[in-house]
Symmetry: C3
Subunit: 673 residues, 3 copies
């Protein structure tokens, strides 16, 4: 990877092409300013067409031509889809879940904990790497593809889980106590009686099983990383393309959906330990529904895994029929990734497949592989990046606000939902999107990786379960001057999902200066004239002040939002799902308490500002215009220069914004620029 070069490219599958067109493709890529392709992931049946017989001729051709064309290569391990011969030889590799055993066909349906499967996976990875890792075009490796645990519940996995529990809880009695297994007669006295997890209805134990399986998936990536390490050059990176919870609507075989929130089936923080560079796959609505929120969320969260710049391994060019981009949108998206800290972006994928199940999921090119509007827009991006890449590379963030997320709480809320339609990620996105649209930049941090000392303000959506230790840290954070804003359904239970046995919010009752002993669902309830949308805890302020009181004949006796001074900090508790408007007013007040108001641009969506610094200390502001209307923006910075046009704007001057426009503003000295 060339120094400080933004990566720009696409996933490329010569295996799927009905005729050889690599040379034209690579020339088209180069004309578009692309510099990288990702290959080989998912091509196991091509690389190893029969048990133990390897075939690298196609790969060699691709590598050679890529090198000739000046394209760099990210080489994927091919393990996320298994070949037919393997399924035939080892039918037991097909994943067994709560729903029975998978039939061969789909990707991502193997029991990745099966040690016999590991034998075959290792053999093909080693063969591939021994053959190609050292090729000069190869700049890095992608491990597998969007790895998750696939709900594996084989006898093998269940045995591992029991061993894990034996190690963690030592005796059946301690296990019973930790999860309250006496309930519905589920307690055991002998580890041999530990039952099949597929019917488990103890929410805590079921979530522990999910957590264990997330670790299996993370271990699998770690194991692959160790294999790669044995072959790679030091400069070559190891990346994985994390994906996010998919918000699905519509029905099979072609449901719609997009990258929505925290991933349930692998923990990104845990799995990122195996990587040298974090990567993400990001898919989101476009056309009139393009807001940039998903790009920002996914970036803010991937960047924080290692507090380092990251790579967008996959994102859409055209994708779903409904997502055909408007002119300008591809370019706006590309800069939005950079504005969030990406060091590059690859489309999934270059052209569109002719076969399989995704022929409607269009790449940059259609099945005709001819120039088209998206390609022409990619050429604009590529040319600008060739020109500016060195400057835009490695944007540094120093956010003072963190949104705190937790995979375990995600699962807990599936068992104990706050309402019919409100999932954990709905709460996360409710809070994140309010910050995003108000240009309050934040980190998105896993509770288990949170460095409290970095932040002035923590936003905590529905942290249903947390350890005493975490609660203690949150208490100290506020006590020491931090600002904490928590939603409803936080601090309910410990990490085994055992509800705390004292008055909620348990250990944080002093910090929040309030308690509650009842909750209900709203029906004709308002809060400051705004409807209460879902869930409501009946808050009783102790030392806290009431920010908003419910309006209702009966529940009017209770507070809906409280604010408490605690030590030198402030703690807000939002006891119900409010409108966005009300939430934003709380955030504004909290930011003021945190002393952050000056740093927050006084503009809001559809004008998005995202800032950062370069290694050289320059400060950039990406001005991203998420609207089909053109508009005038009043410059809020003392003096900035637009990197793309070299125009200079001073505070109060009018900055014209076209539909889906982008400007990159650099702070320049106020007088002698």
């Amino acid at each position: 990877m060339k120094n400080r070069q933004l990566l720009f490219g696409a996933a490329y599958y010569p295996e799927y092409l009905p005729y050889d067109r690599e040379e034209q493709d690579f020339q088209m890529m180069r004309r578009a300013g692309m510099n990288v392709i990702r290959i080989a992931e998912s091509t196991w049946s091509t690389l190893e067409p029969q048990d133990g017989r390897f075939c690298f001729s196609l790969l060699d051709r691709t590598l050679q031509r890529a090198q000739q064309a000046g394209l760099q290569v990210i080489l994927g391990t091919p393990t996320y889809a298994i070949p037919p011969w393997l399924a035939k030889k080892h039918p037991e590799f097909l994943v067994v879940t709560e729903k029975g055993q998978a039939h061969y066909g789909h990707r991502q349906l193997m029991d990745l904990a099966n040690p016999d499967f590991r034998f075959y996976a290792e053999r093909v990875i080693r063969a591939l790497l021994a053959h190609a890792a050292k090729h000069p075009a190869v700049i890095g490796f992608q491990l597998d593809n969007e790895t998750k645990h696939y709900h594996t519940a084989s006898v093998w996995v269940q045995r591992l889980f029991r061993s894990y529990l034996m190690q963690k809880f030592h005796t059946p009695q301690q296990l019973n106590r930790a999860f309250g297994l006496a309930y519905w007669s589920n307690a055991i006295e002998d580890w041999n009686d530990f039952p099949d997890m597929r019917g488990c209805v103890n929410a805590g134990l079921a979530c522990e099983f999910d957590r264990f399986r997330r670790s299996l998936a993370a271990d699998y990536l770690k194991w692959q990383a160790e294999l790669v390490n044995a072959y790679k050059r030091p400069a070559q990176f190891i990346v994985h393309n994390f994906d996010f919870e998919w918000k699905t609507f519509g029905t099979p075989p072609a449901p719609d959906g997009y990258s929505y929130g925290v991933q349930p089936d692998i923990n990104h923080l845990e799995a990122s330990a195996a990587l040298t560079v974090c990567g993400a796959d990001i898919y989101h609505p476009t056309q009139d529904k393009l807001t940039g929120a998903e790009i920002a969320f996914c970036g803010d969260s991937t960047r924080c895994l290692k507090q380092k710049n990251y790579l967008v391994c996959e994102t859409q060019a055209q994708a779903f029929p409904a997502w055909t981009p408007y002119p300008g949108q591809l370019r706006l998206q590309a800069y939005s990734h950079l504005a969030t800290g990406a060091n590059g972006m690859l489309y999934w994928h270059w052209g569109t497949t002719y076969n399989g199940v995704e022929t409607y999921w269009r790449g940059l090119l259609g099945q005709d592989y001819a120039e088209n509007p998206p390609y022409r827009e990619a050429c604009v991006i590529g040319r600008e990046w060739e020109h500016l890449g060195d400057k835009l590379y490695g944007l540094q963030k120093n956010n003072r606000i963190a949104l705190v997320v937790d995979t375990l709480s995600l699962h807990a809320l599936r068992w104990f939902p706050t309402g019919k339609e409100l999932s954990y990620n709905d709460v996360v996105r409710w809070m994140y999107d309010a910050l995003y649209t108000e240009n309050m930049e934040c980190d998105v941090v896993d509770i288990h990786g949170l460095d409290f000392s970095r932040y002035h303000m923590l936003v905590v959506p529905a942290l249903y379960c947390a350890s005493e230790e975490t609660l203690e840290k949150l208490d100290q954070f506020v006590n020491a001057g931090g600002v904490l804003v928590s939603s409803f359904r936080s601090f309910v239970a410990d990490e085994q999902l055992s509800v705390w046995a004292d008055t909620p919010p348990h250990r944080l009752a002093r910090c929040f200066g309030m308690h509650y002993c009842q909750y209900t669902l709203p029906h004709n309830v308002t809060l400051q004239g705004e409807p209460v949308l879902d869930w409501m805890e009946l808050l009783v302020p102790d030392s806290a002040e009431t920010v908003a009181q419910y309006t209702h004949p009966v529940w009017g006796a209770y507070a809906g939002i409280t604010r408490a001074k605690y030590g030198t900090g402030t703690a807000y508790y939002i006891g119900c799902h409010t409108t966005e408007k009300l939430l934003k007013s709380v955030f504004a007040q909290a930011a003021e308490d945190a002393g952050l108001t000056a740093e927050i641009p006084q503009t809001s969506f559809p004008v998005i500002l995202r800032s950062g610094s370069t290694a050289g200390g320059e400060r950039w502001h990406y001005l991203l215009h998420y609207s089909r209307q053109s508009r005038q923006w009043c410059c809020a910075y003392p003096r900035v220069k637009d990197l793309l046009t070299n125009q200079v704007f001073c505070r109060g001057e009018t900055v014209p914004l076209a539909a889906w426009d982008v400007r990159i503003l650099q702070d320049v000295p106020e007088q002698n620029s």
Copy 2:
């Protein structure tokens, strides 16, 4: 059980508590005026942690402390949830249904007909009873918990079913004829060819299988009762907590629902033979949706199983988040149970569980087990009951109206629904609720337990299938002066679901004085200006008069409701699903025909009046106010005294009613009280 003492208490699970707090709990109970707890049901894994090893120390402690605290105990047999060791040792005990075999985890998933399972169930029941039955605190026993057949379709059960059919029908040919098995080539000539019932599409045979399985469940309770009888003192009672069809909405894992109507999977009448006291579990909407209708329906039906007072084994304190009660509602509910003939009521449950799958299903206390508004309201109830219990105990009803229900017709309407959204229980509740809201008190009686001589008026919702003998009795009932009000879809088929081969309504055509040969679904059809909601039979009056004629360009030629004089009685037939308003007008007319008008209070919902007599011959009227508005009620009785306030009201005087208010009015002599 102390003489004439209303039972008031809660289910109590020390097994589920993370720390010992029995002594505080029992003191809190006593402070609330509670006098009973229900324990041990669902705790098999605690009582018998390993195969054949019993552990009663926790039970002993609880019994001892209960006795010390002056609490009586209902001891449950622990069989409704099996322990892991048993599922591990006998995986075949896990129920096999149409959907396959259950995985261990949930309650109520065993094949209760399996004789090997019975061995283990008997062993634990005997061990428990031998140990604890004679304890002085124990006043009675609950058999199992909400027992049903769990759709068991094991090889074992299918073999029993075939034997049952062989006994009932003697030859394959008679079986074929009874169910019309020639249809779709399902006839058999040899009992050995009798097919797997899991694929059965002969509605009659499938319903017979369900009926058979209901008997298995009833037999299971009878078998448990025999075990209990071997240990119990004569004064100790045997109860079971029957539950009702659950009206579900929402989706797993946390669907909403409530006790709605006739139970499909066990027949209460059949199963009640095993009991000395009938019990019920009642859950219903609250807040603005609290109407008392479910309390009344469940009570009117449980009371009639033995025409005796009954026990509410479980009902909600706080329960679902949406059900957090308004102030006054718990008290109103408690008196509503007494007004229907309950002799006591236990909350499910005392405190809320910390684990499992029901942490959101709140008991009287939350997980903090601290005093809260529901507890404080329970204290009011408890104090009043301590004071008044002797007077309120044993309310006697002498209703002249019966609503006739039938489990088989419930299942028949699942196969042959009257419309997309109208189940059997919808028809039942349509008719019951119209009676309830008009204060026309009724018994709810299983057709197989109906004593025709008790009643002046029978209301028959959708009695799809009935024997010739039943039809004959109905005919005689009307002929001899009774008033019969039947809905559509009654008298269609015999008890094998064979549709009668003559013109409907078959044997009752003379009684109803009408016939019909077609039916359809309404589309822009009205009846006396009210829309026809669902289903419509095209009635042709013969000797009957037309109560209401359809309004429609084509169907206007037919009647929708008819009324016939027959013998000295009257028979109404309602051929379609009408509005509530129209139904009520039919009921009013029918009550007049039955000479009942004078007995029916001239007031209606939300003011509910339910009356009865005491053993001493006093007459009580429970005045139940189901509204958040306060109002003035005009006293309709000559002279009554409010038992709770000692106020006296005469006819025409104003009785003030607060929101969710209760008054208990005793008839007192008009002049010298």
Copy 3:
């Protein structure tokens, strides 16, 4: 079958009757003018009650009485529902599908490719035919019943499929290439590695499997026909009752639905080779929703299988509760069948069953088998047909428009839907219904049976996949003067569902004079002021003119409908799902291009005109009035005589039409009639 006699009758099941009433039934039939019954299909368990023991006494009685009553008989082979003894002896006959193995009970659940099953099926067919085929009452045979492949995916079927692929593609490599199996690592190198098709996610291969299974079903009918041929007299016909894709709404156990479009699970054209007469089963909405469109579609498509008159083997009398016919509708339906080329019609069924799962699916009579309004209307039909049958028999069509359908494209669109709610058959019906309601009579022709030379205008809904050869023929058709009207999503892929690798519409780009490289879903897009309903291809006219341009800020740059002169013909391409109104305007213009305007009556729905000629050269116009309103129709023919009333109407004269009226107008000479 008497010469030129319209068949009129019903399916008849003495096996299902609780008592013998054949003699009354046959007399009632004769009184209604009926002349045929269909018997024996689905009665295997009656004909062969035990393995190898046959019983024809009931059959003999029925045949004898039918003959005595002057009724002709269509004898069905009894194989579509298997008897219990067979399922017990050979559980492996029960079909294994993607969802597992069926339980016995339902009809149509056997693996019809299983050679052992064929042994039993052959034995019962031969026994039946040897016994009864020669009976003088028997005029023909129906093979099986609504045969389809039942999604059979047994080991046996999968092995056959692999053999078929081996024959078709010779090497695994060619198979891989044809379907692009490298995608997701599905390629094989050894036929032994060919995977279980039940998990297949390669849309092309899965569709090939469906196609193969359709052939299995067709072969099964062919095999039955060969058996029948060995026994039948030359004059006896062989028919099969094809059914159509069932449009389902509502939920089990009693979902609604009706015959909607192209059948997915057997190919009618392929299967019709086994028959001497084609038959169809037609069920459709009635009452206010009766339009005749389903009758017309099913007839236009069944007639074209052999370009010969056909038989309506089953259609509704009363059927679903919602379908109770209005007075006049049964008669209107009967003539609508004749107007489309039927030579007869049998109700399903005579009376209504007492048992099973279809007691709500009413025949002409109810379960009381008494005269009722539908029966009395059948008597009218029967009398008229006895009188006119000779004249109405054998109506000949000479349509110049064909609507081209394709089962493979139907399946392809399931994998690659054009939108959430728009299936292949929705597109078919969108186009067909627009033709129908505008009285543009058309043939409905399978693309594999299309004789291009017959037609002036081809209408092509969503022909997603077609061979190069087909595309070439379409190109030549236009070039030589034909008019082609294609919808969106046509010409996308080859017959393995491989998307064409050049710019769409591939080989037809010159013909249509346009191309496109993008498509999307409409959101606030209009076309000539009408909303675009679903899907939109962004058309770029080359030699074509733009018929309609999208109105949208971005997509306004593209055409939505184009029209090109090509050779001496014209080609229309409709790139999106438009309103009916816009589609009709395109059809009108296309018909003008095709020189057909003069032939199309200038009247439209609810007045339907369907014309044809007799063998003797007379020309008939069926005037069908699909409305509950009476109206005056202005005669559009020079001079016609109403066959039913003998009234004569000249052009411009008023023809009165009552609700649901029928007139049969014969062209008569303008002056000397």
